[in-house]
Symmetry: C3
Subunit: 140 residues, 3 copies
């Protein structure tokens, strides 16, 4: 449900760092009760001269695009607290390396979404709980 794409220069993050940040980002969603496999994270590495900021090629920059599908923010408070959690993961990681970053989130319709061609069960339903414990999409 969240689809998170990170556009960045190659070698900004090691494989271990990618895995670590993926686990941390996934934890944001599982802590709200979502099955871990809902969280899809894609690192898209851009060759030199393919990422421009303000008209200049920039290889110390990470652009993060987040799409929320299963859960939309119910309030402004939740938006703020989500972004704070996000910041607590990415800010120390990129700031220590001298990189800049920017992110935005969009919300897309839950009823236009399937996992393994199955309509995911309602949030916090019994069926969703079984997807969580089985760690995969199962017909219901």
């Amino acid at each position: 449900m969240p689809l998170i794409r990170l556009y960045l220069a190659p070698n900004i993050l090691s494989s271990d760092e990618k895995k670590e940040v993926s686990i941390q980002l996934t934890d944001i969603y599982t802590s709200r009760g979502l099955p871990p496999f809902y969280v899809n994270i894609i690192f898209i590495e851009t060759p030199p001269n393919c990422l421009f900021v303000g008209g200049e090629p920039q290889d110390k920059f990470v652009r993060i695009c987040i799409e929320h599908i299963a859960l939309h923010f119910p309030s402004d408070d939740r938006k703020r607290s989500y972004m704070k959690k996000l910041d607590s993961i990415i800010q120390p990681l990129f700031q220590s390396k001298g990189y800049q970053w920017e992110y935005h989130i969009s919300e897309t319709p839950r009823d236009l979404w399937k996992v393994q061609s199955i309509i995911p069960p309602p949030y916090q339903s019994l069926e969703e709980r079984s997807w969580m414990t089985e760690r995969r999409a199962i017909p219901y």
Copy 2:
């Protein structure tokens, strides 16, 4: 109008399979009367350790992102029948290979869209029909 991006590991699909699935996906839209060249499909192959599901690197997974622009769903029935057609194409393809998949669709404004810098003609207009038969965008 539909922009379909498929994120997947390299070598999951051969060039022939990519072409075949592109033709099948395109047929969904031409069967609704849209010009075939409206359908843009991009396969984005992710190197190892660049695609994570549930915090784990995953190379047997396909994430499909679909954007609809020219036509929005007029009803819930149409949403369901569209997704069924989609499932009938991708489910046999990926299931037989032991891959997992997930997709979502979003709808974006038709009036913020151009083909060859031309505002596409209204749906089912005479001008659209001539785009269809000419198989290209022509000024009108």
Copy 3:
């Protein structure tokens, strides 16, 4: 704020051309008073047999995806004038090379957006002006 992704075959544009078109696209936004570093442009080069138009592999095609976050169009007139400016940049570039192109724009929520983990200051505020003159995100 605008995130502009261009999907295209490798070698369609040289590094110099990418830089030149990035500067021209950035100018559209700075002429409306936005800090230049808000403009993120990513060229995503697709290998052969990875981009299909109408079910056919196509290597003389550029698909442009634009997301607007900081500023949404206040009127239909502004939509049209924006797209005209865009056309004046990309049409001569791609037409002269015999390429085809298509673009669409979507608008995403401003309150789900951060630069350097800072909520960007309101449009045309004093703080935004200092981001512009400093050419970076500064806490305020």
